[in-house]
């Protein structure tokens, strides 16, 4: 039959999901999945936060609640409490009524709405040619989000120094300097994905200085607040610093990891503007974008987060749950480094504990990665990125030995 779709080519699968699919099919009982970025307990199981189970039950038992449409911009009590998490309870910007938000489908959705708005309204009404800078490397979906929003010029900014396995600050600052004024920069608020390498406070100050001088737009991606250090405020330092320096900015927040609400798609685009009037006009345009994308956002996850953040005992319990996750990750980092050192694995492994958050850029090269996947059934991304949450006290020896083998066998 002649088909309209006869010419539709098979698209390559999204790498990180293919990795998990391959892992699932693998029959080897030593297999370890260090791919997808989701938290796992020491039993290698997904973890629904105790506070989430509690609030879920509250919602289910409350028969006064229904499934009516949320407003286009989302649940008001979710939006405001989520923005407070990012900017701080006492944020002067919030007090000045110049902070607003759009509830979105996860962090991805927040980036999407922000990108679509910027393309239409940022610097003139056609920003298709405005450069968008993403870190080298960055989350693989950043590029697609911005290019699908119509941006034609997406460039890398230097970030990861493979040689020293740390931040290439000079390169970063250099790219900021040479960027055309008004360019858009996607910044990772904390726990950089995939490298786990964050600028220090002093380094952030330098970055902010250049951005202010050159009128560069700060679009923060905050997917790990609380998860990185275990402390919400510490993880939000960079965003709050930029706000204190007078930037108008976006912060795409995800509650997938820090609330463990991955599949409920809970996200928030926090918008900081100069004043309320500018904020309101911007939000009105974002509403139009939302209406032709998903009309209005899903209610379950937002309700859950709003109730938790707005109820003192539940908020405290949540912070505790977050700390539990962050601490397990820190423990695995410490132990992996110890074991590699004990094995005498060639190279330096300080970066394992210097890096922060869920991910570590091990520095393993593609051949070594292939060895790990094929020979040792240890699944990680071709970039050498591992998800620390995939490590447990039961598999960490095997993983350390496997890395040792890969490094000594394959160059």
């Amino acid at each position: 039959i002649m088909s309209i779709f006869g010419e539709v080519p098979q698209a390559a699968p999204v790498a990180v999901f293919k990795l998990t699919a391959d892992f699932r099919e693998d029959q080897n009982h030593s297999k370890v999945n260090l791919g997808v970025g989701a938290y796992r307990t020491d039993e290698c199981q997904p973890w629904v936060l105790p506070v989430v189970r509690k609030v879920e039950k509250m919602i289910a038992d409350d028969h006064s609640l229904n499934h009516e449409y949320l407003p286009i911009l989302g649940l008001p009590e979710f939006r405001s409490s989520a923005s407070k998490i990012a900017l701080g309870e006492d944020s002067p910007a919030i007090k000045d009524n110049r902070v607003g938000a759009v509830q979105c489908l996860g962090g991805t959705g927040a980036l999407k709405i922000g990108a679509e708005f910027l393309r239409r309204w940022y610097n003139g009404t056609d920003n298709t040619k405005t450069p968008v800078y993403v870190s080298a490397p960055t989350w693989e979906n950043h590029n697609a989000v911005f290019s699908n929003a119509g941006f034609e010029d997406i460039r890398p900014y230097k970030y990861w120094d493979a040689g020293k396995r740390g931040l290439d600050l000079e390169g970063f600052l250099g790219d900021l300097e040479s960027a055309p004024d008004h360019s858009i920069f996607v910044l990772h608020a904390c726990a950089h994905n995939p490298t786990g390498t964050d600028p220090t406070q002093d380094q952030w100050k330098k970055i902010a200085d250049v951005m202010k001088r050159k009128s560069l737009f700060a679009f923060f991606d905050s997917a790990y607040q609380g998860f990185a250090s275990g402390n919400l405020d510490k993880d939000a330092w960079a965003v709050r610093y930029f706000v204190s320096q007078g930037f108008e900015l976006f912060c795409a927040q995800s509650f997938s990891k820090n609330f463990g609400l991955y599949n409920e798609r809970v996200g928030n685009l926090t918008v900081v503007a100069k004043d309320q009037d500018n904020l309101n006009r911007a939000l009105s345009q974002m509403e139009k974008i939302v209406r032709i994308t998903w009309s209005n956002p899903p209610s379950q996850g937002a309700r859950l987060v709003a109730i938790t953040l707005n109820t003192p005992e539940l908020f405290a319990e949540w912070k505790d749950n977050v700390k539990t996750m962050a601490e397990r990750v820190l423990l695995m980092r410490a132990q992996l480094k110890e074991k590699l050192k004990a094995l005498g694995t060639p190279g330096t492994w300080e970066h394992i504990t210097e890096q922060i958050g869920m991910f570590s850029f091990t520095g393993l090269n593609p051949k070594q990665v292939e060895y790990l996947v094929k020979e040792k059934h240890v699944y990680l991304m071709a970039s050498g990125r591992i998800n620390m949450c995939g490590l447990t006290t039961k598999n960490i020896d095997y993983v350390a030995e496997s890395i040792h083998e890969a490094v000594t066998t394959v160059q």
């Binding site: 289910a60 229904n66 108008e248 009105s284």
Partner: protein, 428 residues
């Protein structure tokens, strides 16, 4: 005043470049040129309704079902499904990009029927979407990227207000075919056939599967058959929007008849489904997008491309609503409860239509109100003119959209008399 100016002049002189930039930075906003977006016409109606203090006020604007007490209705099958799901203590891991597999399967079966040849040959792909809007958006993006032989999407005149901006934003061009006949408040069958027969080959034609929004006017089966033939002749790509399956007639198979007929006739359709109304899952955002392909291999290719479209928008869809819908559709007792409840909603709407006409006659209206009964689904195109609508709102606190559309779901046995009285007053 003066002091401030001297102070600023002094600073400006000495710190010119830095201050210039600081002033620019601190005083101007990136969003200065952003225009205020126009208020949403339908939401505007609800806002005005909320402000009204008249105890008899009626909101016939928004399309969400209300029970006979004017309250939102959570279906009991939904509550039961929720309890079932809660007891399973499921995790919250990401769904695949294409959504919950069980849901996609049940969603497709619901629309296409369990005996569908398309499903048996596995030559369709269904992905979970963010309700109907999300489904239409993915479809629009898919057409924009892959249906390069034609850019035009033909909508019925009128159509749901959001269709146009969705397709336009995706890069398609919008055209229209005649549909609603204001003279009869019914279907302009000859006009539709005439227009459709002239649509350039390979264009996309949007069809409302049942319960046309906003008019409530649906083609009869014989008319659908003729439309199918002309559409086939013109080699048009059919895109069905089915947001009210079960909700229109009360019978899910009857409401899906047009979709299934077109498939039997060999059309390879695109299909958007929503569970917002028929399961009352509005805010959970439950929907599906289906592409019918030539064969299973092509369906796989199309699936891979749909994922590429979805990932940069929201990565993967929300679990809660899809899990509820899937549980209902695949648990026999829940499914039969659902069928009863959706019939209940449809029957109440039909009853309100009948009561409205009865009451209009009782009021002494001599107009022909047959269309109120002939039309189907949540909405009714009353035929009221803008001035009459304005009077209804100002004098009687009855709120509806300017095109004369009412949401019958907002009518109850308690207020239908008042509504009839009000309508009669502005039309006699």
């Amino acid at each position: 005043g003066i002091e401030l100016i001297s102070f600023l002049s002094f600073f400006f002189f000495f710190y010119r470049p830095a201050i210039f930039l600081c002033f620019h930075f601190f005083l101007s906003s990136w969003w200065t040129e952003v225009q205020m977006g126009p208020p949403d016409p339908i939401l505007g109606v609800t806002e005005a309704f909320k402000r009204d203090t008249n105890s008899k006020k009626m909101n016939l604007g928004v399309g969400a079902y209300r029970d006979d007490n004017g309250k939102p209705y959570v279906l009991s099958c939904v509550r039961k499904a929720e309890a079932l799901i809660a007891s399973k203590m499921l995790d919250k891991e990401y769904l695949p990009i294409g959504g919950l597999g069980d849901f996609n399967k049940a969603c497709a079966e619901l629309a296409l029927g369990p005996d569908s040849e398309v499903l048996k040959s596995k030559r369709s792909i269904t992905v979970q979407t963010i309700s109907g809007t999300g489904s239409l958006r993915i479809g629009a993006n898919f057409l924009s990227r892959f249906h390069t032989v034609a850019r035009d999407v033909y909508l019925p005149k009128p159509s749901w207000g959001n269709h146009t901006p969705i397709f336009r934003d995706a890069g398609m061009q919008l055209k229209a075919y005649r549909y609603y006949d204001p003279a009869t408040c019914g279907f302009d069958f000859t006009g539709a056939l005439d227009d459709v027969s002239k649509i350039p080959e390979h264009s996309v034609i949007m069809l409302h599967a049942c319960a046309h929004n906003p008019t409530g006017v649906d083609p009869r089966p014989e008319q659908w058959k003729e439309l199918s033939a002309v559409i086939k002749k013109r080699k048009l790509l059919v895109f069905f929007d089915m947001a009210y399956q079960g909700f229109a007639s009360g019978d899910i198979d009857r409401d899906a008849w047009a979709v299934r007929y077109f498939l039997e006739q060999g059309h390879s359709v695109l299909l958007s489904q929503s569970f917002a109304k028929n399961m009352g899952l509005y805010g959970e955002r439950v929907g599906g997008f289906t592409v019918v392909c030539a064969d299973a291999e092509e369906a796989k290719r199309v699936e891979s491309q749909l994922k590429i479209l979805i990932r940069p928008i929201y990565s993967n869809p929300p679990m809660n609503g899809a899990r509820i819908a899937s549980t209902i559709l695949s648990t026999p007792e829940l499914r039969s409860t659902w069928l009863e409840e959706v019939k209940g909603m449809a029957d109440r709407i039909i009853k309100m239509r009948e009561m409205l006409v009865t009451n209009l006659k009782k009021e002494g209206s001599t107009h022909n109100w047959q269309h109120v009964i002939d039309q189907i689904g949540m909405f009714c195109f009353t035929g009221l003119k803008p001035e009459q609508v304005e009077r209804l709102t100002k004098e009687f606190s009855v709120y509806m959209t300017k095109d004369g559309r009412i949401s019958v779901a907002g009518v109850t046995s308690g207020n239908v008399g008042y509504l009839a009285h009000a309508i009669h007053q502005v039309t006699k």
